[in-house]
Amino acid sequence: MTFLRATLAVITKDLAGELRSRELLSAMLVFAVTVILIFNFALELDVKTRGTVTAGVLWVTFAFAGSLGLNRSMAIEKDRGCMDGLLLAPVDRSAIYFGKMIGNLLFMLLVEAIVLPLYSILYNINLFQGGFLGVVFLGSLGYVSVGTLLATMTIQTRTRDVLLPILLFPLAIPVIIAAVKASMGYLQGLEAESIRPWLNLLLVYDTVFIAIAFMVFDFVVEE
């Protein structure tokens, strides 16, 4: 009960602050759109290539924008010493982790909710299929679950924001690959049988890393 209340308090706090400043979301969004534009010229997204590279373009965009958001979200906790404020409260440390993680997930999903229709319109591809949206959710979940844990660490280092992508990307490779392949499967209308292994990998990744983060978060915040 207290766990849930604390988690909710952290999430609503992050949302309220963000709704006011819109610093994080606007940065992520502008960045995401820019990346897609760059891809447009770099890959010549004509009708033929579009089908095969759309999933890759989208996930690279989400991953980059996501790491931007993770950095910002933890910087907010560090700037005026707020992390200490959270740790001083009589709540479970993992409640803080889940609060920050779910907040980050919401931001990432929000950015995706804007980027996907935009991409659909720009390239005339229907991205709104149940299976594909499920993959977007599972992939983002896995990404922010590791990302939140790592950002909590990197924010306490000397090199701060530079370090996050270096630590995060190699660990996130399985989730990115699985998300790209599963997305591609749905967008190309492959049968469920060939997509299933990738979905399983996504589920395993999400479960394993949320469980580990839950276990080790204490060590990342406590001296």
Binding site: V146, L171, V208, F209
Partner: protein, 232 residues
């Protein structure tokens, strides 16, 4: 400062001897493979250094868990030593693999799951060293290092699995074979003996290097301590 322990000297001599012996075995005892010729001899050390790489990262992950449980700095030193050794040997693994792949696959490099995984593994452990470099407080450095080394080790099988879902051309010499692999061969008894002896040898190379590295770490700590005493 203590002198070098006798046991370590013996281990050095033993390791050097078996190393020379296994080099001898690779070149003179093991027969030449019929199809691939002499380049196949790379295989013995290629697998052995790969084994040391995996063993190192495994040891590092265990040391990470032990550090978080005990907060004993000794385990942090073990993790760091193991990662450093693992990086070097995984690199050797990739290089020897390339030497073999050039004539057999007709390319230095291919995006095979094992090659991809080995490379990503290198990146993870380079990131580990960079993380350590970014933290001044030794206690925090040890704590964050332990967390990352555990995360890294857990992600390796997932990386391998995800890369494997793509088609592979890497031969599986031990265990079941799969169609489509290029450069496949069956080991004769002499080859198997050479191969097992190489694994044995490199395991000792690993233990010997670990010991030296940990001793070096202890010396570095003593130097720090002396510096601290002088500054007071």
């Amino acid at each position: 400062m203590q002198t070098k322990p006798k046991a370590l000297t013996y281990l050095d001599i033993f390791t050097a001897t078996v190393f020379l012996a296994s080099v001898g075995m690779v070149f003179f005892y093991a027969p030449m493979e019929a199809v691939m010729g002499n380049v196949q001899r790379v295989f013995y050390f290629h697998v052995a250094v790969g084994w040391v790489g995996m063993l190192s990262f495994f040891v590092a992950a265990i040391a990470g868990v032990l550090y978080l449980r005990s907060k004993d700095r000794k385990w942090d030193m073990v993790a760091q030593a193991a990662v450093e050794i693992g990086i070097v040997f995984t690199f050797l693994n990739i290089v020897t693999g390339s030497i073999w792949a050039r004539p057999i696959w007709n390319t230095w490099w291919t995006w095979d799951p094992r090659l991809t995984t080995a490379t990503i593994m290198e990146l993870i452990y380079f990131a580990y060293l960079m993380l350590r470099q970014g933290i001044e407080d030794p206690e925090r450095r040890a704590r964050f290092g332990a967390v990352y080394v555990i995360l890294g080790f857990v992600s390796v099988p997932l990386t391998f699995f995800s890369a494997r879902l793509f088609r592979t051309i890497h031969p599986v010499v031990i265990g079941t074979n799969q169609p489509g692999a290029e450069g496949q061969f069956d080991m004769t008894p002499k080859m198997l003996q050479t191969f097992l002896f190489s694994l044995f040898t490199f395991t000792f190379v690993f233990i010997d290097l670990m010991w030296h590295r940990l001793r070096l770490g202890r010396f570095a700590e003593q130097v720090e301590q002396l510096k601290l005493k002088l500054s007071l």
